[in-house]
Symmetry: C2
Subunit: 328 residues, 2 copies
DNA sequence: TTTTGTATTGTAAGCGCTTACAGAATCATT
DNA sequence: AATGATTCTGTAAGCGCTTACAATACAAAA
């Protein structure tokens, strides 16, 4: 069932049918009625592929995310999907797992499908974005990077200011009178390093009255618990623990509570991301919220601008916010 | 940059270029090398749209889910996406929100895009699947329903046996010696009703020694807490509480613990779905796991079968499993 | 009535690819 | 050298649509 069938049935030409369907050009009322009757009677569905052939667009955008099961990414994918859905675009979802090979495979697939835009959620592209093979693919469509930078003309990005996020936590606990701060470094990503640096700088800004030190552990609740035990065991003085991730912070809280430490009177604890872990932990974690929904909406706006033909190269910096909980 | 450019550059016909790209038909080694050289030098990307025009397939499947932010759906979407990705298909993700209007809009969009298959996650279609408008759309592609039934020839489905899931919980706590069971009904979905019926029937199967009653509350942690307080307040006897959802069960646990009730010695509690709520609750909830990943894989298999031309109409019933926690 | 302008409709090209078919080239066989 | 079989390559049609342009119809103005 195609446009020819409809045209024949209605006794008009395919151009007229097309004009009726797209409500474009001039069609007399009588003809329009005739065609519309056939249209609704037949259950005809126009082929988006054939349309795409002409317009070179399938009205589709691709979202490449590391893993949609991570709530943070799910929220962003959801926000992006809804925003585009309301504008008549569908979203192709790709779970890259963060690996280069899969990422390239997905990029190739979606560029072949001539998506109208690509949003990259996650930071793989800081590493692989400059490889010629990858860059060639990325040049095929407007690209927006959530949390990362990419120096090609058709790419924009939203950067998360992790340094200021960590500084937010430091300022918060020092304002509460805490003086001996520890940063729990759990990951080795660029983001985690930025947080650590932000922590150190913020402590230095406070002068001698505040001391900031770093302890490393594994990224997990267990890792956090272990870090807490380690601090307690080594008899180091501490009255605030700034963690790189909520998971770790949950572990720290558990470790401290089980040792009889009072939170936040004795020790304040902060997490990062204001994730579900922060909300389910009792007492509720104070955490740094980088508002995945807002970031996603910024990405959508940047992409739309490029899809409208405006140049890319824009870098927006998103400042995280402090989400106060019961642990500070 | 299209296949004509490549052909001209390589001094061959477009048919030969096509044969090289698709590794189909016969091409002499010399010609192949010549074309491949041009191909890699030019960074040419074949147009999937044009291919789709010929093959009437974009190698894409659609996943309609209520809300990807719900971890259960995220897991299923992830599983489906990965499975199809490995077979060279991309996935279009739609968040319907469970409403009819949005659902129809998405169905129309993806059928216009001539997706090779549709997987419907969530149960809206039990209600709207029979409306002529919806059915006409659903007939355009092979369809698989996760947790729901649809009587059209090109649809298969995986049903979750909610009754047996609830019975699993009943059998488990009665085996532990519990005799006064309550079912906490929190939702009004078909699924929730099936669980309640399964609960009642399972209790009846135990004869006089077991008594099963039902209490209603709101679907939320707070609702669960409220139900627990209510049971305590009204001085009813109970030694096991079977909940329709993990969220409610978490609330029940909190309510009981704060009243000094020992779990599971005094009262056993079970949730449903074995979600992240079950795992983050302390003590860890015993819950009913309907294995979203396995269900998703069954959906994929059913869809693939239909995409290979085999008839649909298959209904697989998935039996949930008990996930033992510390609350029983 | 003829002319001019406008509203309506149709014809045909072309989007980039696959593929059936035909034709050319090569090779083995007689 | 001629024939047939085989391998290789090119031509052209067609996938279902949009749209530029041509053609027609019709109404108003001259």
């Amino acid at each position: 069932m195609n446009i020819y069938d409809i045209a024949k049935e209605a006794g008009v030409s395919i151009a007229t049918v097309s004009r009726v369907i797209n409500n474009k050009g001039t069609v007399s009322d009588a003809t329009r009625a005739k065609v519309e009757a056939v249209l609704s009677r037949s259950g005809y569905t126009p082929s988006a592929i054939a349309r795409g052939m002409v317009s070179k667009s399938m009205r589709t955008v691709a979202v490449l995310t590391v893993d949609i099961r991570v709530p943070h990414y799910a929220q962003q994918a959801y926000t992006i999907e809804q925003a585009f859905s309301h504008r008549g675009y569908e979203v192709i979802l790709c779970n890259t797992g963060g690996g280069k090979e899969a990422t390239v495979r997905y990029l190739r697939a979606v560029t072949e499908k001539q998506v109208d835009g690509i949003i990259l959620v996650g930071s793989v592209f800081n590493r692989i974005g400059r490889e010629p093979e990858v860059e060639a693919l990325l040049r095929q469509a407007p690209v927006v990077l959530a949390n990362g930078r990419l120096d090609i003309p058709n790419a924009s990005s939203v950067l998360l200011d992790d340094e200021s996020g960590a500084a937010l936590a430091v300022d918060h606990v020092t304002a509460l009178g805490k003086r001996n701060l520890w940063y729990v470094k759990d990951l080795n990503t660029a983001s985690a390093l930025a947080k650590r640096d932000g922590f150190i700088k913020a402590c230095e800004r406070c002068g001698d009255r505040v001391r900031g030190r770093v302890i490393e552990t594994e990224f997990s609740i267990e890792g956090g618990r272990h870090a807490a035990k380690e601090l307690l065991r080594s008899c180091r003085s501490f009255d605030a623990i700034i963690c790189g991730e909520d998971e770790t912070a949950v572990g720290v809280v558990k470790g401290l509570l089980s040792a009889g430490v009072r939170i936040p009177q004795d020790v304040a604890v902060t997490g990062y991301n204001n994730s579900i872990f922060a909300s389910m932990c009792e007492p509720r974690l104070t955490s740094i919220d980088n508002k995945p929904e807002q970031v996603a909406l910024m990405c959508v706006q940047l992409l739309e601008r490029m899809m409208d033909g405006e140049p890319g190269g824009i870098v927006e910096v998103f400042k995280p916010e402090l989400a106060q909980g019961w642990t500070t």
